[in-house]
Symmetry: C2
C-alpha cells in the first residue's frame, strides 16, 4: 500500500537546506537547485518593459503614460499577458491553448497551491505523487491539510499500473484520488524522464479514473541529449492535464511569474473547465489579489522581443547546464573509478539534478559531517521521500556551480566516501 | 449573539463588482476603491531600482552587476527590504519595530491569509471582525475554512464591551476566538475612525483574552482633517497587535508589496513571537516561495530616495483625496438639500470611502437599476455585512474619480433617489 506523508517532512528538508548553507558558507554546495545567475539576461529586461508598454498602449488605445498608469493599478485576477503566454506554450511546448485557459500566478508555487485547493474540497480527497517528489507539493498539501499518497513502482511494474492499483486501494478505503502530480521531464529530485509509453499509459489511466494530471514543467526546456519528448499536456486528448508553468528558470526567479493551464474540456466537459477556471480565479483573488502587472509586463516584453519563443534563451542555458552535467559526470567517473559498482549514478538527459547511490546510509548526520569535515554539501534523497526510504541515495544539483567548483566538490565528496568506507 | 459569515457573501460581492463595471462601462462608478492612477510617481520608480541596487551592492560587497544577478534570484522567504520597511513604519506610523519582526508579503492579501492560517489551527478557532467589514478578510477566511463572527455594538455599547461579551459567548460554545481583525483608520467600507478610547479599550480586552488584534492599515496615511490618531500597533504595550501593511495605496498596487509586523513579544512572550515568525515564514515558502525581489527593490529604492518616509508622497495624495471628499460632500449637500433628514451621510476624515443612508432598501437589484437607467454605480453596504444587514446603506468610493465625475455622478444618483421616492 502507498505511503502517507510524514508530517513536516518538507519543513525538515527546508530547514536543513537553509541551515546547512548558512552554517557552512564556505562549503561547495550541491544542495540548491537554483538557475545560474550568470545566465540572467538583465540587459534584456531593461528593454522588455518599454516594449511591453508600447504593446499595451496599442491594445488599450491610449498613450504610453496612460498605459504606464493603467499597468501600475490593480489588474485582472487571471492575468494580463495570457495570450502571449499561450503563444509561447504553443510554440515551445506544443501545448495548443488560448489565453482564456490560462491563469497567471505569483510563481508556480501559487499555481500548485491554488490547483490542489480547488481540486480537493473534501477531507477524503487525496493527491497522488511519485516517491521521491518535489517538496513544493508536499509543503503545499500540508499547508492546505490535504493528504498525499505516493507511488513507487517495483521493478517490472509501470507507473500506470502502480497508479491503477493505488486508485483501487484508495477507493476501497473510501478515499478519492483527485490528482496525480508529477514532473515528466528531468524531475526534481531524481533528474529522470518519463518514457513516452509511461506518459501515454498514465494519461489513459487518469482519464479512466477521472484523476487530473498535474504536470509541473520547470526543466523541460533544458534537454541535453537528442530530442525532447512532448510534455504530457501536449499529448493530452481527454482533457486530463492541468499544466503548471514557470518563468523562474527560463527568465528569472525574481519575477515570480508562473501559470496554470486548464484543459479546454476537463474530462471532456467544457462547463467543468469554466467552473474550474472561475474557482481558481476566485481563490487567487483572496490569496494574492492579482499577479504583479510590472512583472507580467517584463515577461510579456521578453516574449514580444523573442517572438513568443524562449528557445533562443533556453539554448544558451541548456549549453551551460549540459557542460555542468558533463563536468559532473567526468568528475564522478574520475573520483570513483576504483570503487566500481559500489557507487552508481544516473546520467540525466536534461535539467538540474543527478541521483547517486552510495554503499552506505547518507542521512542528515552524514550530510552535516560531510559539510563540516569535507566542505561539501549534498542532499540526502530520503529528504524527498514520503516514507524516508532511499536512505543510501543523494541528490546532486549541478545548475548553479562553476565547472571548477563541481570538480573540486566531487573530489571532496570522494574523500568523504573513501573515509567512510 | 454574533453572526456567522454567509457562505460565499464575499464571492457575490466580488462578482457584482466585476460584472457591473463591465456591464455598464460608461457609468460613473463609485464602486471601486482603487487609488488614483494620476498620483502614481512612475518617473520616480525608474530611479528607484538603480538606487536600491547601489545600496544592495554596498550591502553585499559586490559589483552592481553582481547585485543585479543576486537580486534576480530566489531570495529570503521573509523578505529583503525589511530594515527599510521597519524604518518607514517607525518614522511614519510610530510603530517601533526591527526588520526581524517583519515578513514581506505578495501584497497585504497574502499577509491576511498567512496570518489567519497561522493563528487558527483548530476547527473550533474563530476570527472576529466588525460588521460590516472588508471582503478581503471574509474571502480569505472562507478560502481557509475559518469561521468568522462579527460584532456590531448597539448604541451605548463600546467595541470593547461588545468584544468581551462575544468572547464569553464563543467560549461558552466551545469556540476559541484567536484574532480580532479591523481597520482603525478610515475603514473600508464605512470610512469611520476608531476613537482613542476605543483603541485603548480594545487593546486591553484583547490582552485579557489573549486575542491577537490584526490591524490592517491601508488608508492611515491619508488623513484629511487635524492630526491622525496613532495606529493601534503604536499604542500596543502588551504584544497584542499583528500589523498588516501595504504599499499599494502609497506607492502603487502593481508592486504587490505588503508586510506583516509581529510584536516583539506576543502576549509578552518573545519565544511565542519567534515561533509565529517561523510558522508564517514556512507557510509563505509553500504559498509563494518569496516576494518578488524586483518589486521589493522598487519599494526599497523609493524608501531610500525618500529617506524612509512616505509622508511627502502621501501629502500630495491626501490633498487629492481630500479635494475629492470635499467635492463629494458639496455635491451630496446640493443634490439632497430638499430631502432633509431622509438621506444622511458621514463625513470621513480620511481615506477612500463615505457611507450614506437612504430612506429605502438599496440592494443588488436597485444597484443594477441605478447603473442601467441612471449611469451611476453604487455599492450596497449589505454586500459587506456578514448578516445582510445595513440594507438601506451604500458605500461611496471617491478615490479614483475626477471632480467633474463626482459632481455628475451624484446628480445622476440624486435623480435615481428622487424617482424612487
Amino acid at each position: 500500500m502507498a505511503m502517507q506523508a510524514r508530517a513536516n517532512q518538507h519543513l525538515e528538508t527546508m530547514n536543513f537546506l537553509n541551515e546547512i548553507a548558512s552554517d557552512y558558507p564556505k562549503a561547495i554546495s550541491f544542495a540548491s537547485g537554483r538557475p545560474s545567475e550568470s545566465l540572467f539576461q538583465t540587459k534584456m529586461w531593461v528593454d522588455a518593459l518599454p516594449r511591453y508598454l508600447e504593446y499595451f498602449a496599442l491594445q488599450c488605445g491610449c498613450s504610453l503614460q496612460g498605459a504606464t498608469q493603467r499597468l501600475s493599478q490593480y489588474g485582472r485576477t487571471g492575468g494580463l499577458i495570457n495570450e502571449l503566454v499561450a503563444s509561447q506554450l504553443t510554440k515551445d511546448e506544443g501545448i495548443s491553448c488560448s489565453g482564456q485557459q490560462i491563469i497567471i500566478t505569483s510563481g508556480c508555487q501559487e499555481a500548485i497551491t491554488l490547483t490542489i485547493q480547488a481540486l480537493c474540497g473534501h477531507a477524503t480527497d487525496v493527491i497522488i505523487v511519485r516517491n521521491p517528489c518535489y517538496i513544493g507539493i508536499t509543503g503545499a498539501a500540508h499547508g492546505c491539510g490535504i493528504d498525499l499518497v505516493a507511488i513507487d513502482p517495483p521493478p517490472g511494474q509501470s507507473y500506470a499500473q502502480a497508479l491503477e492499483k493505488l486508485v483501487k486501494e484508495l477507493k476501497a478505503l473510501g478515499r478519492t484520488p483527485r490528482a496525480f502530480y508529477l514532473t515528466a521531464d528531468f524531475d526534481n529530485p531524481t533528474g529522470s524522464v518519463l518514457s513516452m509509453a509511461d506518459r501515454l499509459a498514465i494519461l489513459t489511466t487518469c482519464a479512466t479514473y477521472r484523476i487530473a494530471l498535474l504536470e509541473d514543467n520547470p526543466y523541460g526546456m533544458f534537454c541535453f541529449d537528442g530530442d525532447r519528448l512532448p510534455p504530457m499536456a501536449a499529448l493530452d486528448r481527454e482533457g486530463v492535464v492541468i499544466y503548471l508553468g514557470t518563468y523562474s528558470k527560463t527568465i528569472c526567479p525574481a519575477l515570480r511569474i508562473g501559470c496554470i493551464v486548464i484543459p479546454q474540456r476537463l474530462f471532456g466537459d467544457q462547463v467543468a473547465s469554466q467552473r474550474l477556471a472561475a474557482d481558481l480565479t476566485q481563490r487567487k483573488s483572496f490569496l494574492t489579489v492579482n499577479t504583479s502587472q510590472f512583472n507580467q509586463a517584463v515577461v510579456g516584453g521578453v516574449l514580444l522581443l523573442e517572438n513568443c519563443s524562449l528557445l533562443r534563451l533556453a539554448k544558451e542555458a541548456t549549453d551551460y547546464y549540459r557542460r555542468n552535467r558533463d563536468v559532473l559526470l567526468g568528475s564522478l567517473a574520475n573520483a570513483f573509478d576504483i570503487l566500481g559498482d559500489d557507487i552508481a549514478w544516473n546520467c540525466p538527459s536534461g535539467g538540474f539534478f543527478l541521483t547517486a547511490d552510495l554503499p552506505f546510509i547518507f542521512d542528515r548526520n552524514e550530510a552535516i559531517k560531510c559539510a563540516e569535515k569535507f566542505d561539501v554539501i549534498l542532499m540526502p534523497m530520503s529528504f524527498f521521500t514520503l516514507d524516508g526510504s532511499r536512505k543510501t541515495s543523494i541528490r546532486i544539483a549541478f545548475s548553479n556551480l562553476e565547472c571548477a567548483e563541481i570538480t573540486l566538490g566531487v573530489e571532496r565528496f570522494s574523500d568523504f566516501v573513501r573515509q567512510h568506507l
